[in-house]
Symmetry: C2
Subunit: 408 residues, 2 copies
Amino acid sequence: MKQDLDQLMAKRNLDAFVIVSDENYNPLVDYMTNGARVFGGYVLKKRDQPAVLFVNPMEIEEAAHSGLRVVSYSDINYTELLSNRLPESALQVELWKRLLGLAGITGGRVGIYGTADLNVYLELFRLFDQQLTGFELVGESGMTLFDEAMLTKDADELARIRTVARKTNEVLQLTWDWIGTHRQHEDGQVINAEGTPLTIDAVKQFVLQALLERDLEDTGMIFAQGRDGAFPHSRGNDAETLRTGQAIVFDLFPRERGGGYHHDVTRTWSIGYATPQVQALYDTVMEAFDRSLEMTQAGQSAQVPQLTVLDYFESLGHPTRRSHGDTHNGYVHSLGHGVGLKIHERPSLSQFRDDVLQSGNVITLEPGLYYPDQNMGCRIEDMVMIDDSGAVVTLTTFHKQLVLPLQG
Amino acid sequence: MKQDLDQLMAKRNLDAFVIVSDENYNPLVDYMTNGARVFGGYVLKKRDQPAVLFVNPMEIEEAAHSGLRVVSYSDINYTELLSNRLPESALQVELWKRLLGLAGITGGRVGIYGTADLNVYLELFRLFDQQLTGFELVGESGMTLFDEAMLTKDADELARIRTVARKTNEVLQLTWDWIGTHRQHEDGQVINAEGTPLTIDAVKQFVLQALLERDLEDTGMIFAQGRDGAFPHSRGNDAETLRTGQAIVFDLFPRERGGGYHHDVTRTWSIGYATPQVQALYDTVMEAFDRSLEMTQAGQSAQVPQLTVLDYFESLGHPTRRSHGDTHNGYVHSLGHGVGLKIHERPSLSQFRDDVLQSGNVITLEPGLYYPDQNMGCRIEDMVMIDDSGAVVTLTTFHKQLVLPLQG
């Protein structure tokens, strides 16, 4: 949790950290700035001291909403610095020296986090190593400081996550109901009352509209029919008309508008009816889902639910990445991941990671099976949290019916 | 232009480049992949060779839309690599070795571009320097390879930019008209026919809706009234009710849905009437705008329009960053910037840069004046392009009237 940051810094022997951002939404800056809409800022924090937020003067009014100490270019005489027309990288070195000074960071091990242009920082890191004497800049891979802090959510975060979940469930229900108002043309196309074919683009527009009305924003939904659904991240062909009897993978992972907490859910729908093949695939994935949920427990290795699913699928003869290397058929991804300000957080429910499930985790469970040659894929995903008592609470309460009946 | 990439690589003595991305939209990957919706991929290009796109197997179906040669984990035995349970950074080094090999990049100077977690790459760059023998990884600041390519847009890009411009102009007109259907309450609040106060949040919702209907998405619009408008990047207080006689800064910079080309426009509106102070501020900024447009010419230094505005504002006694360092009053930013897949591209219309205007540029002109203590700010921004003949074509055709009359 956020309150553990100082302790997690100590564990890493970090004296301070700097979060760098660019003009895009930055989840780490958001995490530290209490929802202030700051773009392009730096967060600097000395261990056991409050964080400092550095922003362009144009952002100071927004930055004040963070509750942090806000500093700006005027505090480091930036315009004077610019007027010297230093080379860009030399300018950055001088900027960093002044910034670190402002935040009272006078030396020691400084963790560098955040997202920015690698071309700029490849050059800068080399210069920093030479010119920031007394500082050791520290990177990390794997379970980083912020991964570890974000592993468990505090009460404020959980409240926001529950709100996003409730709204996302509403959007799923509305979409299900709306598609159901359509009817089937004799050729299997789904059409509206006027006979107009219902396209994937129209469905996505409907979903975007429903999200917008709830102050949520899409971050790249998947609505993939038939063969497209057999490629887990194919977003679907917008121009395509919905057809009855096809497996449709609908993966929706919106967040609070402007950047914030996510929900992540997948349903597989077959409109009008399901073929025996699709029904059988669905039943198998549903059974895998139920087994994985049963093995999701606080204190448990996060590998266990994944291994359970691998064992189950393999026992039925489905290829997996464990049994068949880089297969494109069968079960081709891990079981799930943490969800928060980033769509993919820790813990990882993967056989290649060593995370342990615990209270405060918010994770997905999303087994799937994919058969491009049979023009079908299926994935079922809920988001769940592990509460203070260790109970697993399902946040995705929307039903898991496969066949979406046409009422129109 | 994109077609100049090989030549621009030669100019930098680069034998190859790699673009890294994370799970978010990446403009450089988009630039290279012809609109394929690929997330988390790497683009590798050897000079004078076609680019190669490396993606997670889950993305291969989308990646195929790029027209590039697509390679995936199975081509580098990634699952086997994962099974060895190497430390995360050692795994990355091995991944890069195999990737570079796949793309036929066997050594030399390799430019690194794209956006990713700095904590990961700070560690990786140090390892690469030790372990990628025969390679020199190259960073750059200032005018980078892609900045330079993107300086000028080709015909396909310009066609898309024109479409986004047309749609954005429509949204501005709709918003203007819709606000105009409201009426004034006796206390100066703007209310609808039922007497409900019109909030900034409601305006933003209206705009988002209008964007959505046109396949555009917002990237953080500003609708800032009174004092908020005097801080150039304050996004405005959503809960606030619109009031007559206040300067409202409305800065809209949407892009194609899911990531793509932007438009960028600002208008300053005063509802019902303008106070003499707001009118005077507006007239001054409008004059600065006209003067800057006049000085925007192919072959001209991009400093010239900015210097023209600085001279004009200072001649009237307004503080600027040139005359008054890090002032928060007066003219506190540069005149404009290139616009494309990124909202801020080159050329920079700044006295601190040495860019030259040329055919194919798509830029903003956006003078402004800001007086927090007087509760008012004003900015007027058009996006213009310089066509093949050198003519400056205004893409923001929406009118620049200050007073938005209430008809309701």
